[in-house]
Amino acid sequence: MRMYHVVEIEEIHEEAKDVRTFLFRDSSEPKPGQFYMIWLPGVDEFPMSISHIGEVKGFTVKKIGAGTARMHELREGDKLWIRGPYGRGFEIIPGRALVVGGGSGMATLAPLIEMLPNADIVIAARTRDELLFLERFRERKPWIATDDGSLGFKGFATQLAENLLQDREYDVIYTCGPEPMMLAMVNLARKYSVGIQASLERYMKCGIGICDSCSINGYRVCVDGPVFHAEELFSMTELGKVRRAPSGRKEVMR
């Protein structure tokens, strides 16, 4: 399933501010953490994690630029051209798990959470409107953090996570979110000697491991990742600090 296959959007759900889920059916068999390249012909092509797995699949897309804005204009019955699933997804480790999702990072983590019925969950965002999948995981009683305190813990996901790490024994942390947050989570994992898997996002062109545009310290996010494990993450001097522009030029993050 490497070439484009065309799927029809069956349902569109409003998830949060500027975030929509597009549900479709196809026969590909993604694992949590894997992604697809979505092509909107004549517009753009960009990577998206799978946010719903099973017969009905989904992408949960935050509107941030021209491409995602055009995707938000699509209606039920419209088509998507997708190739994938690509990359290495999450590896489920036996034991007690903490899942920490920041912003639209929850899209990537959602299908993993469904496969980890006993995991503790932290859902974080800048503000209440941006919290993703509160409803979907209501019964799982997620911990909630907002930067502005508009819901749940007031502060960063990492602060809330550190509280949990102090109180409880975890075997592994799964995380996805803004890179500085993931870097902080990696540091926490080291501090508390807990395993960690983080799903990274980098600018992608080919999605199949040849163009080098998504590379971080020699790791290709598109095929070696997007999910990386503790030792790899510890070795990444660029994590949360340096990224590459579409030209390949290094630039300091935000």
Partner: protein, 301 residues
């Protein structure tokens, strides 16, 4: 057994990473060196930073036949490339700096900078767009390429490789026009296109792209054979090499070394050590002790 010397440069094996595949960042090149490549050609670097074309920039052909790409010469610009070269050099294998420009002077400038950055040789990417013609490449203009090679040769002391386009009826004529180069690299991608029937548009945002991978191997082997039949100059074969037999095919056509691009996708980073092993096995079975013994073995003169 696989060791070769080319323009006085030692390569532990004749399997060199082709330009444009996993060779933008220093650390990725380091990794490719560790994976067993005998040498590395950098991504083609130009005067200025370029983001390249919009996505989609790559299209995969069915049945592992190859890829169509239109990356659009994305590159960080020569000024930003010193640090990547420094890191790449740590891999202990020769690093060939690939450059592209639009005038002989630009090529010469870029070559000098690459030499300063520690490149072991320069590769001239002559498949860049020609100022004059519709879809034409610099590399089909014999006078222009002769001048480019001449300028660059005057500007640097390291060897200069000229990488030719197959999009011509006269590869031998073009090869002869760049006689001053220290080696010829044959071939760059073949001009192609793919249209998505359901979308009713060309897939690549640039519409046209370069074809690479197994589907162009017969074209590359032919180009190497044709040029070798007329010239003694070292040749680096490239185009569709995926297995040890493919590499041997190019060598028997007349290549002294080969480059590998698309196969990195098809077989993973292990492709260099896999191909090296396949070549060694064939050589042992056939009593061949060094690559040089079989260079051009299939030439009938």
């Amino acid at each position: 057994m696989l060791e070769i010397e080319l323009n006085g440069i030692r390569f532990r094996n004749p399997l060199i990473l082709a330009s444009g595949i996993l060779d933008e960042s220093g650390e990725t090149m380091l990794r490719v060196a560790r994976a067993g490549a005998g040498g590395i050609v950098t991504k083609s670097i130009g005067m200025k930073e370029r983001a390249g074309y919009e996505n989609p920039v790559v299209y995969e052909l069915p049945d592992s036949q190859g890829l169509l790409n239109a990356i659009g010469l994305a590159n960080p610009g020569i000024a930003n490339y010193g640090e990547e070269m420094r890191i790449a050099k740590g891999g202990g294998v020769p690093i060939i700096g690939s450059i592209f420009g639009s005038t002989p002077e630009e090529f010469a400038f870029l070559a000098r900078r690459m030499e300063e950055y520690g490149a072991d040789a320069i590769e001239l990417n002559l498949s860049c767009p020609h100022a004059k013609g519709y879809g034409m490449e610099v590399g089909v203009d014999k006078e222009l390429v002769e001048e480019i090679v001449g300028e660059v040769k005057k500007s640097v002391r390291i060897p200069v490789w000229a990488k030719l386009t197959p999009n011509t009826h006269d590869i031998v004529g073009i090869a002869k026009s760049v006689e001053k180069a220290d080696a010829l690299v044959l071939i760059n991608t073949v001009r192609g296109m793919a249209i998505d029937v359901d979308a009713r548009v060309p897939v690549l945002s640039n519409r046209f792209g370069g074809l690479s991978g197994p589907c162009i191997k017969p074209i590359g082997v032919r180009a190497v054979y044709e040029v070798r039949a007329e010239m003694e100059k070292p040749i680096v074969g490239v185009g569709g090499i995926t297995t040890g037999r493919d590499a041997l095919e190019y060598i028997m056509a007349g290549a002294n070394a080969v480059q590998i691009g698309t196969a990195v996708y098809l077989r993973g980073l292990e492709v260099f050590s896999l191909i090296a092993k396949e070549m060694e096995e064939w050589m042992e079975r056939n009593g061949v002790e060094s690559i040089d013994e079989i260079v051009g073995a299939a030439q009938r003169r």
